[in-house]
Amino acid sequence: MIVDSNLSFLQYCSNDELKTLCDTLTHDNKGEVRLSEQLTDNDVYLRCYPDNMKGMWQEIAAELQRFGGNTFANIFRGGVGASYESILRDVCKKMKVRIPSCSTVEEIEIALLTKYCEETIGSMDIDLLHELSVEIGIKPQSYNKQIVAAAILVALRRGGGKVLAPVIYYIGSNISRILIGRGVYLATAGVLGRAAAALAGPIGWALTAGWLAFDIASPAYRVTVPAVIQVACMRLKHNSHFLTAQCV
């Protein structure tokens, strides 16, 4: 793995979060193992998956870097992939997220998550939008979907990370959960997955619709886009915990 300070926070993430990220890298949305992944036959994976994911955070990071790098370039780099920042910028370019060239990784991730949330909010129904607006401290005066959605979007753009965090936590109890839902669906081939989808309900459907906007054709992006979103969510959560701990 390339020593990448932008991914070193992974070692402090929870087992579930790392497992979700790992599943995103190794399995597709039908639950089938990805032909190009190199993680599941790794000795460390065998030892750590699924209970001790912290023990393999470096392998997960390396796999993400490999997926993000060009295959031939990876060979010339001696089997290691691209840096996380270049993968993130690449994903943003693909997703048409505009970012200034001097932005930090955190700022780029916020921009990406904001775009993701915008897509999701656009497909939520009015009741959910009302709940969400109350959650982030906006009192909706209207019952018009467009107006409420616009109010949330304005708050999202102005508030940045401060508003984004509760929005992400609210929408389907954050993106990780919908990814885990997909993971559960993969692992159990049906019954549990359907139950999870039913539990997720309209929020889940809205999230999936938002997700689909990102689910693009290119095989490499099918891996890096959800993985980068997952990493961005994990960092957001990690940073908010870190800040809370510092304030206390």
Binding site: E32, V33, L35, E37, T40, D41, D43, L46, R47, C48, Y49, P50, D51, N52
Partner: protein, 255 residues
């Protein structure tokens, strides 16, 4: 399921019309051909005629939670077993295996075959073995016709064995299954393996493969037409699996 097996199945499925071909083959007698052969020449196992073997078989099937397939014993001094069929699966075990192996070792062999059923390997296995048998009967003509397909199926088959080995290891434990593999290699009833013989050989074998490109080519050519990986490779993979989290979980479930 071993990831290499899952990937090989995915690759097979990507061959246009392949699944259709296998399904049609099964529909038009691929499955009944072997069932007829079993009923005609092998002995079906019941509680009355092979009580000890049936008990071991029943324990294995119960531990795995699958529907009981038919079990047959056939006359062959070599230690061997196989399983075919999609809708009506069966396992056939050689008389050599029944007479040479201890109940625990037999359980390992039967769990391995049940592993093929659990992973739905029998769907592709039946076609592979039919092609290989045809090749034996007609002296290589089917190999000329279906060469790439046979090679692809053999490649997958070698990986599918690793999944079945994982299943067996989860049922009988890694050490017991390593002993089964050592017994398979020696074929001797009196041999008391410690379970590490093949594993140690595997490290030496890897030295040959990784030592030079020529060594790698030689060893890969040697297995290209085989349906099973080398026994020491299997022992090595069983050892890797025995260190995994999921192995420990499955052992807790079984024990």
């Amino acid at each position: 399921m071993h990831p290499a097996d899952a990937k090989a199945i995915l690759a097979l499925k990507k061959i246009p019309g392949f699944n259709y071909l296998v399904r049609k083959y099964m529909e038009y007698g691929g499955e009944s051909l072997y069932r007829g052969q079993n009923l005609a020449n092998h002995v079906k196992v019941y509680e009355d005629n092979f009580p000890a073997l049936y008990r071991v078989f029943k324990e294995t099937v119960t531990a795995l939670g699958i529907d009981e397939p038919e079990l047959y014993v056939y006359n062959d001094p070599y230690i061997n077993a196989y399983t075919y069929g999609e809708t009506r699966t069966f396992i056939a075990i050689s008389s050599g295996a029944v007479e040479t192996l201890s109940p625990d070792e037999l359980k390992g062999v039967l769990a391995h075959e049940c592993g093929h059923i659990v992973c739905h390997h029998t769907f592709y296995n039946t076609l592979l073995y039919s092609l290989v048998e045809l090749a034996d009967s007609f002296k290589g003509i089917p190999y000329m016709l279906f060469g790439p397909l046979v090679l692809a199926l053999q490649y997958w088959s070698r990986r599918s064995e690793l999944s079945a080995d994982r299943c067996a290891t989860s049922i009988v434990g890694a050490q017991a299954y390593q002993k089964v593999l050592a017994k398979l290699a020696s074929g001797m009833k009196s041999f008391k393996p410690n379970g590490k013989e093949l594993l140690n050989q595997a490290y030496e074998y890897h030295d040959i493969i990784e030592g030079s490109l020529w060594g790698k080519i030689q060893q890969n050519c040697q297995v290209a037409f085989q349906s099973h990986p080398q026994l020491c490779e299997r022992a090595y993979e069983v050892d890797r699996w025995s260190k995994s989290c999921r192995y420990r979980q499955s052992r807790i479930r079984v024990c």
